[in-house]
Symmetry: C2
Subunit: 947 residues, 2 copies
């Protein structure tokens, strides 16, 4: 047999297991602090508050025991030991081993069975459990304690078939996880045996078959590792514990942590727990249940189970599970018997327990249970993942049920997931060629090209393609592809399968368990009935119905549920930050207003310049050879811009509208190819060479840092003059017609107060000339500036003398602050994020440490000059929840974001206000008796003043 | 007669003069503070310390009177009145008028003559005098007090010719300055008269002629202003005072202030002083003298005078003046009689006075004197402008004469002028076609194209051309052109002419009084003997010899005088900042070391990449399609780079050498045109399309903010690995050979500490591999980073954990901090500076407010993490004196600049240290008794530690 790499892995794993059994060095003194926490029979060393130490699962187990939930007894080895283990070159500290053995003895007493007892053996599960849930990312070993002797005892105690089935499962799992033997080896042998016996299901194999399988499996171990399978249960235990600690550092786990921003120094705890069996016969079952429907949020008990199976069978999605009750039935499972019908007492106990659990945790729970010989055991409970729709509904309904407060409800909904609710669904009136029906595993709609692997999904997404990831079933190795895809389609697995759970967490549309798919990875084809689809073909998924649709179906804007409206109203009551929108057109303005925008924070005038009816005049303006030619071109633009502003002011009646004067360099408006140049020249009746000459003259090495923004206005003041005239004339016209208008003129790219001094004068003079024509009109006009150049932030105390408001352009501030061009960063930024050099793309979530520091400084310095300085943000970060929290912290008055992000921002702003309130409370507590602090106008007050 | 614009100006001026005579409004109460300061006959209200109030000239006059210098009596109206005058719509406050008249009475007593007395009239000069010298920028009126009556008195008292000559001069000057009548009008009449009388010189005109001229002049006034010339001497006085205050705001003065950074709110004082006459006959003279030679600095009394002339005749440079003594003779004036010979008693008195004056002021003085009927009057004395050579020599010699301290000497030399001493002079071995000989008015050499106007000079210089400004004579209107030109050549004027004085101040080469030139502005031609030169022709000037040379002559590096070496040694004793150099080649390194560089602060490795023998390998490296190809190319580069470093380490033996790893984006090394692409492709044996494809692939929108610096090394670590290997191998090799080496590896464009964590590891690993081959060698290697990205400055506390040193790249920091691309800023930055939106080009002198703030923050934050963090600057600002002061203030350890700027930096660093010492002393004084402060290692100590 060749030494393969997995062979090497096996050797390494084995030596680790050995190392773990070695006594730790003397320098490692037994800590006085408890590192092994017992739980069981109504008594636990830990509780729910100890997640850092016990991991989420361990803390929950302790908590459940404390409140009287029937949890199999066991103990948790704390997360601190994970670091100690890895630091001590994969050895378990001696004091931990002593404590483990002591706890093990207590479990034996409760279960009335002994670890390694050939007659009545006690078996254990060994699982990871980190502070944050990392489903399926780390290793687990079940049925630990089985060996030649104990398997016979188990056979005698239960039945031989079950015993040998458990043993062969244990050998495979231990072999895979601890000894590094590829699981395909075992599975191949199993398949061969089934073929030989001419059976389809594992359950059809007889006890003798399984005994034969065990022998084969043990031989695989010897072949692969060069050593026999460890027979000593204690050696097994140390090996499994070590492997779980070790798995914290595996590639999958590391990638998951990166994706979810989990620090690697948290470590995992290890939970060692007595095994209970759902696969000891037909009075046994195992299942997963949610205390409410995780898809819709409806207050129904919702779950799936498998009879005569272990928990892994449910999670892996290999067998389609049965619904636990009528409410859990789907089209696919409508005809299957329910747990309620099949095992009424166990079901009743489960209902009693779920109610107890939800009431205790005051949160929707995801419960794993096992029924052994009719007795219900709760294996774990944790906060259930849910769709955004469900999150909103559950939060709002729990407030009405008086389970939680409104503030808690607001904190329960992940703001970054809210825009999922707003994303288009499939146009109901569009024709659909439904080619298959799967489970509606995660709502929403997805349109994209078929890809059959996660890597391909990632690669295509990187170059901007929308893809649908199609898999027989998904596994943790596919996470990056699921992230990259628009939607996920699987042939196997239920509503709680890996694909479904992860997709909901990611907010991706997912159709799972679509059994009619015939997927061939090798040829890159998929058959569905008469249809043959290939990689690259277009496909549409409806996550709400589970339909798989041929081609691309148009999408529509969703209607929001009443609960959503309610939650948003609460958010508005709580938040201190205003929420405006970035909108350049009346249509965008209207949409944003419907989503609750309180004004426009950024209206870019250059987008208006690009439209067909005006680009010609813009080009004439740029190509003008003297001031009078330029003015003629500007005169053509004036009425067009004015008309745009009239519409926008009307759409935003009564709300502030911040208009940014021309920002991009002029060459952006000129043609870029010879063909375009030709066209433009012809249209203008001049020589192409003339156009080309101007293009060449205006070429810039670094346009980002070039002749743009207010710098244009220093050189060509007539452009801003025209724009100001258009804005103020439009405002006067609209106001004249009886509609309230609040124009705010914003000057971009200020780096020095001197620029603002000059341009403020220009704006004021131009505005005054227009106002003079409307002597009876009173129209307040604010003049402010973008803060998007680091120097502007640093000299904000000077700039504030000339500005009525600041609006942070965090995109540009990030570009300059990082010396990073967003257009060019594509070559290296993804590597930076993937390799952990940057926690996140700083254009998506504000870099609080560096760029954020500039924002903070600028707000403080600006307000040191001008106390009532109105400050907002209009970069794309204005719609990112994490960034919004930061903006709230540093005292901004409002954020402005794209229309669809407005609800996200409203919720995030509310959450920020709640967090600030909590932090302030905490601070007051630490400070002792309240002192009177100098009265400062709150952000909200400032905001009101300005709106 | 048409109403011309000068006509309008005259009307305006007249109304101003009238306004000035009006009594100020009642609200303007007589100030309790003195605003008119008398001086004369050994008594003065003011003194030298009152420059702010009295202006430089007024304070000096008072001081001179105080120390017993024979100054014509008079009084100074303070600078405060300038603001009051301009605020009160050009009216003089009533209290000022009262004080003026009182002071006037005292002058009358001293002079034994009366203002307006028809028999023995006292005349006055009215001159501006601001805090800073602004030669020729503002208006002056002489001979004030003459009218129909007094002119007869003067004629009787002196002689009629002189009286009417004075009167016609007064009418012209008053007409021009106060009434706005163009002086050409008067000059035209004078020329006509001379023609009619068939004479060449003014002095050949008879008294009767002048009387006729006076009549004509008076008529010109009536014609032009519509009113007779004011006959009341008091009206004349108020008019002249008002005009002088008003001239503070004229275009010339404003431009000069902009050029020299003089705040416009300083205002000017007005000095009203009794007239003494150098033009009352042959026992009269007027002149200018320097207490030392302003060109060489030699301790000789140096000056020029004109017999029977007024001061303006000397300054204007219209007549070539005589030397005052033998020492002042030049080739041109060798045959003229000296003052020493012509008027020995007056000369002896002048010598006595100059010695008294220099001893008192302890500084080289520029003295204006007049001899009236053999009696010497000193009109003014001020610190004399001088060449850099002279400044150094005077400062050093005055220390030896115990006139001043070493610290004072160091402060006496303008650091920004020092590099003038180092600038190339003409190659003595080069062939010179000398076509003319002028006066060596300001040293240095200049090569450029001929231009005939200041505007043209400015325009050409803006587009990067080197020009020589050729003028018949220069006037204050030409300042901007002199600024822009490489050198100045005039046909008229002596060593103290406008051209000479201004050129020395500007540090420009100037040849003046080159009488053989025939300049025709109209045709744009210049004749010199047989040669006809046109605008655009090349010309060379030798400011050291006064030679005018045809074509362009090669230049050489100058030798520095012994005084310079001495001053530099003193500077080194005083300064706390280290001075290193930016040098990429062994040659530059050697030059810089000779100039006193204490190491290399920036060795750019990319310049090495561009040389012919290596660019090919660099391109192969970039075009490599996989890692092994890339490594093959890098293997070719390794020995080449190593050899470069060996040479540089040897040139810098014993001194630190900071080497920056590759910084520019890779596309900079690729061809840019189809032709180049073809060539490269052929050389590499690949298709041009392949090269083009790579060029396209590497194209960046904003290369400044793109894939460069350390970002390259994250993507292609093998490049830095090769460079580190080359550096460390070279260092080991050199050290092995017995030469001390101090390599410092610098990583560019760090924006996040995570980058430095990774690259420091890379550098350390690569270095360790080399060190392993030299087990006996002990070679300290420092690893540090550029701070050139705003975010790096803001997060310096984090970055310092990974850096042994910081080196501020202030060029890039300015670009990012300002969001301003240096390559593109040419389109608008000059406008910004010209229009006062920016005080200076921030790439020349550091923007202390904004970019400087980043430097300050970074030093403080970096040292908060790492107390002994070594901080330097390697941007071009490292050679700018103002910026160096700032760097010293914020506690940098060293500056690094181009080789020729090293002496500048040494001196500026010394001056900064002295200023800091003075500031600290002042602070201690304000703080009261000394407190013990926590010991901090000084910058110098830190520096030593590192060198």
């Amino acid at each position: 047999m060749k030494k393969t790499s997995s062979n090497k892995r096996a050797v390494r794993a084995k030596s680790q297991a050995k190392a773990a059994t070695k006594v730790a060095t003397k320098t490692e003194k037994a800590s006085a602090k408890r590192r092994v926490f017992f739980f069981g029979a109504g008594k636990a060393d830990g509780n729910a508050g100890m997640k850092e130490l016990l991991g989420s699962k361990g803390a929950n187990l302790a908590e459940m025991v404390n409140i009287g939930i029937p949890v199999p007894p066991g103990f948790t080895i704390s997360t601190e030991v994970c670091a100690a283990f890895n630091a001590a070159r994969k050895r378990l500290p001696q004091d931990v081993k002593v404590s483990v053995l002591a706890a093990l003895r207590r479990v034996e007493k409760i279960m009335g069975a002994k670890f390694g007892d050939p007659k009545n053996p006690l078996l254990f599960s060994v699982r990871s459990g980190a502070r944050a849930s990392m489903p399926g990312m780390m290793d687990t070993v079940l049925n630990l304690g089985l060996n030649h002797q104990t398997v016979s005892g188990l056979a005698a105690h239960a039945n031989p078939r079950f015993a040998y089935d458990s043993y062969r499962r244990f050998i495979q799992m231990y072999g895979d996880v601890v000894l590094g033997v590829p699981h395909e080896r075992f599975e191949g042998r199993l398949e061969m045996l089934k073929e030989r016996r001419d059976v389809t299901l594992d359950t059809e194999l007889r006890s003798e078959d399984l005994q034969e399988l065990v022998k084969d499996y043990l031989q695989i171990i010897v072949d692969h590792t060069g050593a026999p399978f460890p027979q000593d249960p204690e050696v097994q235990l140390w090996g499994a514990i070590g492997a779980v600690f070790d798995s914290w550092e595996n590639e999958r786990a590391r990638r998951y942590r990166r994706l979810h921003g989990i620090p690697s120094d948290w470590g995992t705890a290890v939970n060692v727990q007595a095994m209970v069996f759902g696969n000891m016969g037909d009075t046994c079952a195992t299942g997963v249940a949610f205390t409410r429907d995780p898809s819709t949020g409806a207050n129904i008990f919702y779950g799936e189970y498998l009879k005569n199976a272990q928990g892994e069978d449910v999670v892996a999605g290999i067998r389609t599970p049965q619904p636990i009750n009528e409410a859990s039935k789907t089209t696919d499972t409508a005809n299957l018997p329910t747990l309620e019908k099949e095992m009424p007492p166990a079901y009743r106990e489960l209902v009693r327990m779920y109610q107890k659990i939800e009431k205790h945790y005051r949160e929707m729970q995801d419960i794993e249970f096992t029924i052994q010989d009719g007795k219900l055991w709760i294996l774990q409970t944790r906060t259930g993942k849910r769709t955004s729709t469900a999150a909103v509904r559950i939060a709002v309904e729990m407030v009405k049920e008086r389970l939680i407060s409104k503030e808690e409800a607001l904190l329960r909904v992940d703001a970054s997931m809210v825009d999922q609710l707003l994303h288009p669904t499939l146009d109901p009136s569009a024709k659909r060629t439904v080619i298959a029906q799967g489970l509606p595993a995660s709502p929403g709609a997805a349109v994209g090209k078929i890809v059959f692997s996660a890597d391909e999904a990632e690669a295509k997404a990187k170059i901007g393609e929308r893809v649908i990831l199609v898999r027989i079933e998904t596994s943790p190795e596919d996470i990056h592809g699921m992230h990259a895809a628009q939607g996920i389609l699987t042939a196997r697995g239920g509503m709680t399968s890996h694909a479904a759970v992860v997709a909901r967490g990611l907010g991706k549309c997912c159709v799972s368990g679509c059994g009619s798919l015939r997927i061939d990875y090798a040829t890159g084809e998929m058959r569905v009935g008469e249809h043959l689809l290939r990689a690259g073909d277009l496909l549409t998924l409806d996550g709400g119905t589970g339909e798989v649709i041929l081609g691309a179906v148009p999408t529509v804007t969703p209607k929001l549920g009443a609960e959503f409206g309610e939650l948003m109203r609460w958010a508005d009551q709580v938040r201190k930050l205003g929420v405006r929108t970035n909108a350049d057109t009346p249509h965008d303005a209207k949409t944003a207003r419907e989503f609750g925008a309180e004004g426009i924070g950024l209206c870019r005038t250059e987008h208006m310049f690009f439209e067909a009816d005006r680009i010609q005049a813009v080009r004439e303006m740029i190509l003008a050879t003297d001031g009078s030619e330029r003015n003629r071109a500007l005169d053509k633009l004036l009425p067009i811009q004015r008309a745009d502003f009239v519409k926008i002011f009307k759409a935003m009646a009564g709300l502030p509208v911040t208009i940014r004067l021309l920002d991009p360099p002029l060459h952006e408006f000129l043609p870029h190819t010879p063909d375009e140049t030709e066209t433009v020249a012809r249209a203008m009746g001049i020589a192409p060479s003339e156009v080309q000459a101007k293009v060449t003259a205006l070429h810039e090495f670094n346009p980002m840092l070039g002749h743009r923004g207010c710098r244009l206005a220093i050189t060509y003041p007539e452009i801003y003059r025209m724009q100001v005239r258009a804005i103020v004339e439009a405002a006067c016209e609209v106001k004249q017609s009886g509609v309230s208008v609040k124009p705010e003129i914003m000057i971009p790219l200020i780096s020095n107060v001197s620029e603002l001094v000059r341009l403020r004068t220009l704006v004021e003079a131009e505005a005054a000339a227009v106002f003079a024509r409307y002597p009876k009109l009173r129209l307040p006009l604010e003049i402010g500036t973008m803060i998007e150049v680091p120097r502007a932030a640093l000299t904000a105390q000077e700039i504030a003398t000339q500005a009525d408001f600041f609006s942070f352009g965090t995109n540009d501030l990030t570009q300059a602050g990082y010396a990073l061009s967003r257009d060019d960063a594509g070559r290296f930024l993804p590597t930076y994020v993937a390799e952990g050099l940057l926690p996140e793309d700083p254009f998506i979530s504000l870099d609080q440490t560096g760029v954020g520091e500039l924002v903070k400084l600028a707000v403080a310095r600006g307000r040191s000059t001008r106390k009532d300085l109105h400050c907002g943000v209009c970069g794309e970060h204005g719609g990112d929840p994490k960034s919004i929290h930061f903006f709230a912290q540093v005292g901004l008055d409002y954020v402005s974001c794209s229309p669809y992000r407005v609800p996200v921002a409203r919720l995030a702003a509310a959450q920020a206000a709640i967090a600030q309130g909590a932090a302030a409370k905490q601070a007051r507590k630490l400070r002792g008796p309240a002192r009177k602090s100098a009265k400062q106008p709150t952000a909200r007050k400032r905001l009101r003043k300005h709106q």
